[in-house]
């Protein structure tokens, strides 16, 4: 039996839980006694925080160091127009406080790191991974395994999402059983070009919230050892059976990771975007001038077609999305002067590297891409 008790106000509030025998008074007390640390208060963290608070989880911790931006509101429903510019933790805390004054909310306006992860996570029963980058995912995984706490995982990409519960202590795999090492930097899916359907983190985040509530109350069959894949466009759920990897570097029989490491280094994070040699870079002002001259360069856009529909640099000669460049490199003339651009200069930097390796010498990356072009040359070009 749980030690905590429910007030009459709480009984009235949670009555739709209480009248289900699977939850009942005991399940609701367990929720009240339970504590959950949400890492990230964004797309996944929003529905998670709202539903866990509404459900009466007694203590919710929120970790985020970001600030609410107008472009978040398409999916991060815990925030609002009135909290744009506010730290996400504070914005979320206000909304949750209004939703349920009976619960305790602790906010950590900080970035979770190897130095503070144990301290942040130690006091919580369940860890929920609502992050958006590989270093934090590996950090969250490793720290959860080392502390013996379940890690409720969710991840989204455009119209697709994944969810599972990593709990080696209950016989399931951890994230590293699936992906022992991170993808090499610079060679990773471009969420970016992607974006995400606003409702998608709602679907995945509510799956995570459901699993969290099941873990705290001990009801149902947890999503341990199963990876749920969701495809919003096909409206299909697919389940993969997973298993522990006995050679897993963290939860395997002979673990090589026994303490937290430097996850930025592990994920190969360079402090700066890959440097491109000086002769391979051009500024928007230089390009604008060059495009006016008779010896104007060939202007190559390596973004995706739907980005072209948002904004483009006038005078673009050709579009080859970066992912297609290796296969379509023969369509380009290496004898001709060429400038490559994308939204911010990152993808085009990669394209320039690729072209250099293929023997192109007269190729330059437009520094800052469409964004800098808009700032420095033509503000009528939309920034996105």
């Amino acid at each position: 039996m749980s030690k905590v008790s429910l007030s009459n106000e709480e009984i009235a509030r949670y009555s739709r839980h209480l009248i289900m025998p699977e939850v009942g008074m005991e399940g609701q007390r367990r929720l009240k006694q339970g504590s959950v640390l949400l890492i990230g208060s964004g797309g996944l963290g929003s529905p998670l925080a709202l539903y866990l608070a509404a459900a009466g989880v007694g203590h919710i911790g929120l970790v985020d160091f970001d600030v609410v931006d107008a472009s978040n509101l398409q999916r991060q429903i815990v925030h609002g127009t009135s909290t744009v510019g506010m730290p996400k933790t504070e914005s979320a805390r206000r909304r949750l406080r209004d939703l349920n004054p009976h619960i305790e909310i602790t906010v950590y306006e900080t970035q979770i790191t190897s130095a503070n992860a144990f301290e942040l996570m130690r006091g919580y029963d369940v860890i929920v991974d609502g992050t958006d980058n590989f270093p934090t995912r590996y950090l969250t995984n490793d720290a959860s395994v080392l502390l013996g706490k379940p890690n409720v995982y969710g991840s989204i990409f455009r119209f697709e999402g994944q969810a599972t519960v990593f709990a080696p202590q209950q016989g399931g795999p951890c994230y590293r059983c699936l992906y022992p090492e991170p993808p090499p930097p610079g060679l990773v899916p471009s969420c970016a070009e992607g974006g995400v359907l606003g409702v998608l983190p709602g679907v995945i985040g509510t799956i995570q919230a459901t699993e969290t509530i099941k873990l705290l109350t001990g009801i149902g069959e947890p999503l341990i050892g199963r990876l749920m894949l969701y495809d919003a466009l096909g409206m299909r759920f697919r389940e993969l059976k997973l298993r522990r990897n006995p050679n897993c570097p963290v939860c395997g029989e002979n673990p090589s990771v026994t303490t937290l490491i430097d996850y930025e280094q592990f994920c190969g994070i360079a402090p700066e975007a890959p440097a491109i040699g000086g002769q391979y870079v051009i500024t928007p002002l230089e390009l604008a001038d060059w495009l006016q001259r008779d010896d104007r360069p060939f202007l190559l856009d390596v973004r995706n077609p739907y980005e072209v529909a948002i904004a483009s640099i006038p005078g673009t000669d050709k579009l080859i999305p970066i992912d297609q460049l290796p296969e379509r490199i023969h369509e380009l003339d290496s004898a001709r002067e060429m400038v490559v651009y994308c939204r911010s200069g990152v993808r085009s930097g990669r394209a320039v590297e690729l072209l250099k390796q293929a023997g192109f010498r007269k190729v330059k990356n437009l520094e800052g891409g469409v964004l800098r072009w808009s700032d420095d040359v033509d503000p009528t070009v939309a920034k996105y």
Binding site: G40, G42, L44, R75, Q111, T131, D132, N133, F134, P135, T136, R137, G154, S155, I156, F157, R158, E160, Q162, P182, P183, P184, P185, G186, L187, V188, P189, S190, C191, A192, E193, G195, V196, L229, D231, G234, R238, E239, L240, K241, L242, E264, C267, G268, I269, P271, E272, A273, P274, D323, Q324, P326, E327, C342, R343, S344, V346, R347, G349, R350
Partner: protein
């Protein structure tokens, strides 16, 4: 020859332009052989080699798993998640903001 149904996810769908495809393989072919064949056809996939989750008939599988006629192979790349703009070249943008 055996017929294998391949399911692709996330960024692989963009590279290949499809979410699923059917391929013919030699009898006794492995999961890894199916992947190598895809890489040969779509070189951009090559950068994911060694960083993939495979499943055969919805069960986790190693690259060395031998396939049977009619098997379904799911190949799942790591997805960092979130909805921030992460451009290729920026794996972990939180530490490397644009």
């Amino acid at each position: 020859m055996i017929t294998i149904h391949v399911r692709l996810f996330a960024a692989h769908r963009d590279i290949v332009g499809r979410a699923e495809m059917t391929v013919q393989q030699e009898t006794g072919a492995t999961v890894g052989a199916v992947w190598e064949r895809l890489v040969a056809e779509y070189p951009s996939l090559g950068r994911y080699t060694g960083r993939l989750l495979y499943a055969v008939n919805q069960q986790f599988a190693e690259p060395g798993a031998v396939l049977q006629d009619g098997d379904e192979v799911a190949i799942i790349p790591p997805v960092s998640g979130g909805a921030r703009r992460i451009e290729p070249g920026q794996v972990c943008n939180r530490f490397n903001p644009l």
